[in-house]
């Protein structure tokens, strides 16, 4: 794993702090394809941590292991000190999860969608109504809560999913490509709600995204993942500063411009931004289909 010197130093200094998430030597293979190949991650309590990478980089597989959807075949994964391999239920109680697909049930109203998750997370009956109202208000869906989710726009569905994930008051919110397929206004809107909730509750957020501008603007720290490995980690600024002028040279010859996170991404992921190279290497047909379906559902 390649880590910038400053980030490594900061990590060493912060080892005493409680960690929202710790992964060490995490590996996961689908047959002969190694989707996650020795990932080490440290996510600090209260931060927004971005996991970046092209399609097929292994981000979603790593997320599925962290969320206990997949077993931990090799390595160690802990959420707030709970082992994802041995204490699955304890880990799940701490998580709020928004998957890549638009996953609200269109046959239910917004309120019913949220109420289902309040029930399965054992939110006490006397608190349930108030909690549901509060999260619906937090994501700006109070007025449309009694409409069927099938009538919602893509941005509204994403906010509804956020409300579903928040109703259990999770300590670690995991968002897998939360703004995929959304227009810029809806993206800003979704991030605005994530930021508000995070500021109000202090919860930790782990997010995967393709959008470098979002990572730059909203993430405290990021890790760049490619070919199943973390290629670099640190704050966006650290990663930008770590790039030499030659490394940040762009195809158009605009090397005089200060490097952006996209330059960092391109440096580590090669031409993988468009997803072609990496999909061929490690991408899964279902991932691509799922991404396209989500993009098509949100229009």
């Amino acid at each position: 794993m390649a880590v910038t010197g400053q980030a490594q130093h900061e990590r060493a200094a912060d080892t005493a702090e409680p960690r929202a998430l710790r992964c060490s030597g995490l590996r996961y293979s689908f047959g002969s394809t190694r989707a996650v190949d020795g990932v080490d991650l440290d996510v600090r309590t209260g931060e927004v941590f971005g996991l970046l990478g092209p399609n097929g980089a292994g981000k979603t597989t790593a997320i599925r292991v962290i969320t206990t959807l997949l077993p931990v075949p090799a390595g160690m994964v802990e959420v707030f000190g709970h082992d994802c391999a041995r204490e699955r239920m304890a880990v799940r109680r701490l998580l709020g999860y928004v998957p890549q697909q638009l996953s609200a049930d269109g046959g239910l109203t917004g309120r019913e969608n949220v109420a289902l998750f309040a029930r399965v997370f054992d939110v006490p009956r006397r608190e349930r109504t108030a909690r549901i109202e509060a999260v619906l208000a937090a994501v700006g869906l109070s007025e449309s809560a009694d409409r069927l989710a099938s009538t919602y726009s893509g941005g509204m569905v994403r906010r509804l999913e956020l409300a579903q994930a928040l109703v259990s008051a999770p300590r670690l919110l995991i968002l897998d490509e939360p703004t995929i397929g959304l227009d810029p206004i809806a993206r800003t809107n979704v991030w605005g709600h994530i930021t508000q909730v995070r500021e109000a509750t202090g919860m930790t957020v782990l997010v995967t995204t393709h959008h470098m501008d979002e990572a730059e603007q909203y993430c405290d720290r990021v890790a760049l993942m490619h070919h199943g490995r973390i290629q670099a980690a640190g704050t966006p600024q650290e990663l930008r500063n770590g790039l030499t002028p030659a490394e940040s040279a762009r195809p158009g010859g605009q090397s005089a411009m200060p490097p952006t996170l996209e330059d960092v991404f391109r440096h580590y992921a090669g031409s993988g931004l468009d997803g072609r190279e990496s999909t061929e290497d490690g991408g899964d047909f279902r991932d691509v289909r799922r991404t396209r379906r989500t993009a098509s559902r949100v229009g």
């Binding site: 959807l69 239920m89 890549q100 697909q101 638009l102 996953s103 239910l108 109203t109 998750f117 399965v120």
Partner: protein
């Protein structure tokens, strides 16, 4: 906590049904046709010996069991749809044991099947079938329908966990529903079946469901204790299998 989660799953089914009753109406068509066309015709030609019981009366409990099975057998497709749309993924990340999810879905299939059974009973009553209106026996009917549907929903979810795609499951669903139906005592008494089909019928939970429903609704001789025991045993097996295979749907 597990019963609360089961209730949550059932509630979701009822809420969906409240928002869109189309399924309720369209699903009533097929049993109505079986009773009206098949039942009335075979009652007239007296081709199937059913003793003192008119064939239409004999057929009605079989059609209740058949329509309940048809509802339940497509729960596997529903769970694959939920997997593809991310709904199942999110539920599997909640502190809900997989067995509770399976039981919740199975009971939800039962609730839907009970609503369907009410519709079939009303159609049968309108056609002149002499059914019991004893509330205790009708409660027993609901219980038997729930137990039977739960098994077929678990069977379908287990197959979903093996085949993993809707296309394959639709093919398998269609391939098994008719043999299950014709290989049971729903349409004709076991006594008129050839020996090999009698053996199939004895291994088919649908036969025990139909036997219990006939006993409760028509008052014909039935083996209620055995029927309930077989259905409960089949449910336990189905829940264990579907829960074990649920993890494959998360991958």
């Amino acid at each position: 906590m597990v019963p609360a989660r089961m209730l949550a799953m059932c509630l979701v089914e009822l809420q969906k049904l409240r928002h869109d009753r189309t399924e309720l109406y369209t699903r009533a068509v097929q049993p109505a046709l079986w009773l009206l066309i098949f039942g009335e015709t075979f009652t007239r030609i007296r081709a199937i010996p059913t003793g003192d019981v008119p064939y239409l009366d004999f057929l009605a409990p079989g059609i209740i069991a058949q329509s309940a099975m048809f509802i339940a057998i497509f729960y596997g497709i529903m769970i694959i749809w939920e997997r593809d749309s991310g709904v199942l993924t999110k539920l599997l990340v909640t502190p809900t044991p997989r067995s509770a999810l399976v039981i919740g879905k199975a009971v939800a299939a039962g609730v839907k099947a009970v609503i369907q059974a009410v519709v079939v009973i009303l159609i049968a009553a309108a056609l002149g079938v002499s059914l019991t209106w004893n509330p205790l026996k009708l409660t027993g009917v609901a219980l038997v329908v729930v137990l039977g549907s739960a098994f077929f929903a678990c069977l379908s979810m287990s197959i979903a966990g093996i085949v993993l795609t809707r296309d394959r499951l639709m093919g398998i669903g269609q391939a098994i529903t008719m043999p299950l139906f014709f290989g049971s005592n729903a349409l004709y008494p076991v006594a008129v079946m050839p020996g090999w089909l009698q053996a199939v019928s004895r291994a088919n939970p649908l036969s025990y469901e139909v036997d219990a429903l006939r006993g409760l609704l028509l008052g014909t001789p039935a083996h209620l204790g055995l029927d309930l025991a077989v259905l409960v045993f089949a449910d336990v097996l189905g829940i264990v299998a579907a829960s074990a295979l649920m993890g494959r749907l998360a991958r």
